[in-house]
């Protein structure tokens, strides 16, 4: 087996306990689509409560990495350890139960269901009771349903969305839908939260707010967050470590400062103005 990249590679905040094993440990991950190496030899380690950023040009393979981590696509190569456990061969649902939750670049809400039900579906495995208890309304049904209701509203309150609980998710404005997706992902009690362009379609002030919330989520739930984003304000604002992907390969890894000033990154991704701003 390949040698582990020394830990913490991306954990840049020594005062926080990142744990002895990283939450996510990816080795030589790769996938091909008909000859196209969408992700190639991808290695990354993420600490237990770290906020990490994955950036790179369009079509670099960022979303594909998420899809590999959630087994929407099956990797052709590589090993992924979640909290020290090999996740090969696990289904998307199993991976979720093991602690990986995500949002989608193209929002995938349960549009016709209410906001609360969206979150409650996220809570599916958190408050379990058997089909029998449901059918015959046994006490465990009542207890868990009440807990689920309270928890759902509690989670919605992170984004101040309790008042929308009864609305159909599809009728929410774009930005609210993105936030709801995050809440739903959180409801599954993840150890690692994957956010795919959470700020897309938000204006700068909304983005600023989102940034605060992401940080708060990490602090309250003590989870690791890996996010993809093209909004450099957000990435540079909260990511403790950043990996840059291009043509499926990592071209740079490091802190904000290192990335901002990396000429390869500027050339491939940030561009002149981006450099100036950053």
């Amino acid at each position: 087996m390949d040698k582990l990249v020394p830990l913490p590679s991306l954990g840049f905040i020594p005062e926080r306990d990142l744990g002895s094993t990283p939450i996510l440990d990816i080795h030589h991950l790769g996938v091909e689509f008909g000859g196209l190496h969408a992700v190639d030899d991808f290695n990354l380690i993420i600490g237990r409560t770290e906020i990490a950023g994955l950036i790179g040009p369009n079509g670099a393979g960022k979303t594909t990495v998420f899809n590999l981590l959630t087994n929407v696509y099956t990797p052709t190569r590589g090993v992924v350890l979640l909290d020290g456990v090999d996740i090969r061969g696990k289904s998307t649902a199993q991976l979720n139960r093991m602690g990986i939750a995500r949002t989608f670049q193209n929002i995938r809400l349960f549009k016709d269901l209410s906001v609360e039900d969206n979150v409650r579906i996220g809570l599916h495995n958190a408050f379990e009771y058997s089909l029998g208890s449901a059918l015959f309304r046994l006490p465990s049904y009542w207890k868990n349903e009440r807990l689920a209701h309270d928890t759902a509203l509690g989670l919605l309150s992170i984004f101040d969305m309790q008042s929308l609980a009864d609305k159909p998710a599809g009728s929410l404005p774009y930005g609210a839908q993105r936030r709801l997706e995050i809440v739903r992902a959180l409801a599954t009690k993840p150890k690692l939260l994957l956010l795919d362009e959470p700020a897309a379609g938000m204006n700068p002030s909304e983005t600023g707010e989102l940034m605060e919330n992401i940080r708060r989520i990490r602090d309250t739930f003590e989870i690791a967050i890996l996010l993809i984003e093209h909004d450099m304000n957000l990435v540079m604002g909260i990511c403790e470590g950043i990996a840059v992907l291009n043509y499926g390969r990592i071209i740079a890894k490091g802190t904000q400062e290192q990335i901002k000033s990396n000429p390869v990154v500027i050339e491939a991704y940030l561009g002149r103005r981006g450099e100036a701003k950053a």
Partner: protein, 233 residues
């Protein structure tokens, strides 16, 4: 060139647009900014005919286009690059671009497509790929490229920079300016208000379906309230 007068638009019985009027002059870049759900996309959809306004009038190039079928409006030289890309997922990149040129004269097709490929080399690389498997940003480029193919007089862009890498965002804004210099009028909806205002002549600020503010961009850029609400200042 485009004159919108007192339109009111509903989704079922929810009113999304309340009595909005504005205009875009020939050769201008005008931008609409506003929070999520303010009704920006709804306005564009009403102009291109996908939605109907209950009242008021919309004139384009001197002719009323209210109630006209969308395909006729497009044929008059008004292109709409919709929100959320809306590329034809089962078609290849090239077929998508071909669709963009549906109303354009056949003779200019080769030039137009070469032009698009030049601006977005990634699309050229992926010309045979099924659009549905493109990455988000690639689809966004395709949507923009497809809009360019029709060589419109007025182009309405709904969040063209969404999901694009910073380097491409710059490019997109460059392209918009270039198009504008070449004579295309632009109506731009953007979340990246900073950049939108920096290239626009004028801007309208939208809140819950109403225009609350209208000024030249330079003024908007320095306005405190706008700064706070939309520029993250």
């Amino acid at each position: 060139m485009l004159e919108v007068q007192n339109i009111n638009v509903f989704y079922g019985n929810i009113q999304a647009i309340r009595d909005i009027s504005f205009s875009v002059e020939d050769g201008e870049i005008v931008t609409l900014i506003g929070a999520n759900g303010a009704g920006k996309s709804t306005i564009l959809k009403s102009i291109s005919g996908l939605l109907r306004s209950k009242t008021g009038d919309i004139t384009f190039d001197g002719k009323s286009i209210k109630g006209t079928a969308p395909h006729k409006i497009v044929a008059q030289g008004l292109a709409h690059v919709p929100e959320g890309r809306r590329v034809f997922l089962q078609m290849t990149v090239e077929e998508n671009l071909d669709m963009g040129a549906f109303t354009a004269p056949r003779a200019t097709f080769e030039d137009s497509i070469a032009n698009v490929y030049e601006r977005f080399p990634r699309l050229k690389e992926r010309r045979r790929q099924i659009a549905g498997t493109l990455s988000g940003g690639e689809q966004q480029m395709l949507a923009m490229g497809r809009g360019l193919m029709s060589q419109p007089k007025l182009m309405m862009l709904d969040e063209p920079s969404m999901g694009l890498a910073p380097i491409l965002v710059e490019q997109i804004f460059d392209i918009i300016q270039e198009l504008n210099r070449a004579g295309t009028t632009i109506l731009l909806v953007e979340q990246n208000a900073q950049m939108a205002l920096s290239i626009a002549n004028r801007g309208y600020v939208l809140e819950t379906g109403q225009i609350v503010f209208h000024a030249p961009s330079s003024e908007l850029l320095t306005n405190d309230a706008v700064q706070k609400a939309y520029l993250g200042g």
